[in-house]
């Protein structure tokens, strides 16, 4: 159930905060765990949704937003493309279920990325389909911004993909 999931995630973050002193360590740890989850999640995702191969980065980003997020978290972020080359996208989440029970970050953990797990998951999943990407948080509602925004930057240029297919 959703509450169990959200609370378990909270317990995990709390445990990490207790174990590690610095926020960056906690963020890194969350990212790595998310990465491990992502490489396994992609199998489950492809098995469940049976989608066709994506032809472009924007399709991939759309797929992540509309199908994957909906299946696993129950929300659909909106996708916007933020660079001319078509490499960078951002997913805007106005409802983030992971922070359902979180009011705000405590003062001493001001730079904690609570949802860093999500970034790791996206990065791991993309890497398993041979799309290297960097995923970071651009805005975070817990830190006072209006919405939560995750930025995905695909690292390889589109021309490389065409070569691979030949």
């Amino acid at each position: 159930s959703r509450e169990l999931f959200v609370l378990t995630y909270g317990a995990l973050v709390a445990q990490l905060c207790k174990d590690y002193e610095k926020d960056e360590d906690v963020n890194t740890c969350l990212d790595r765990m998310g990465y491990d989850i992502g490489v396994r999640l992609i199998d489950d995702f492809l098995a469940r949704s049976a989608v066709k191969k994506c032809r472009s980065y924007s399709e991939t980003a759309d797929m992540i937003a509309q199908v994957a997020f909906k299946t696993y978290l129950g929300v659909t972020p909106s996708v916007s493309c933020s660079s001319a080359t078509g490499n960078e996208f951002s997913l805007i989440l106005d409802k983030n279920p992971l922070v359902d029970f979180v009011e705000e970050l405590p003062a001493e953990r001001a730079s904690l990325c609570y949802c860093n797990l999500l970034c790791g998951v996206i990065r791991g999943a993309l890497e398993m389909v041979h799309l290297a990407a960097e995923v970071t948080f651009l805005q975070d509602r817990l830190k006072g911004d209006a919405v939560t925004e995750i930025g995905i930057t695909f690292l390889r240029k589109p021309e490389d993909r065409k070569h691979k297919r030949n």
Partner: protein, 188 residues
Amino acid sequence: MDSRFTRGKSPVLERALGRPRSELSLAAFALLFSELVQYCQRRVASVAELQARLAQLGHHVGLRALDALVARERPGRRETKVLGVLLFVKGPLWRALFGREADKLEQANDDDRTFYVIEREPLVNTFVSVPRENSSLNCAAFAAGLLEAVLGASGFPARVSAHWHKGTTLMIKFDEAVIARDKSLEGR
């Protein structure tokens, strides 16, 4: 702490306590749980410690789940009898957290402080395979910690442990004072 009061009411606190609208997939929870277990495993040396860690995390979850659930399922009434709170656990609590009721609730024959909640296939163990050298590891220790926190916070302090028996059994052992109080309530 101070800034929280000066900033005004947080929107999260103002939200209604309705049921969550969408259910998550089992895979998401299973993967998160597996990461949790792996993380704990990396940091502890023995199986007993791992179960203790899982129980502690379950404790954390249970405390926070209780308030919202009680307010939703039993508004205005608190459970005061042992049997009442156990039935609440078996039914509404388990259903809200795991999507189905626990399979059985039994009382030990010789000891009236001990109860068993039995599940053939607990949700937390769905994708867990236990290697032979750790055969006493039961990830239901997470559920045990959760249950212990729920019972403790409802005013029924108890010790809960997880065992391999008819599936997975959570053994609940209430404190003496709880049973004595229950008996005196029944006598009235």
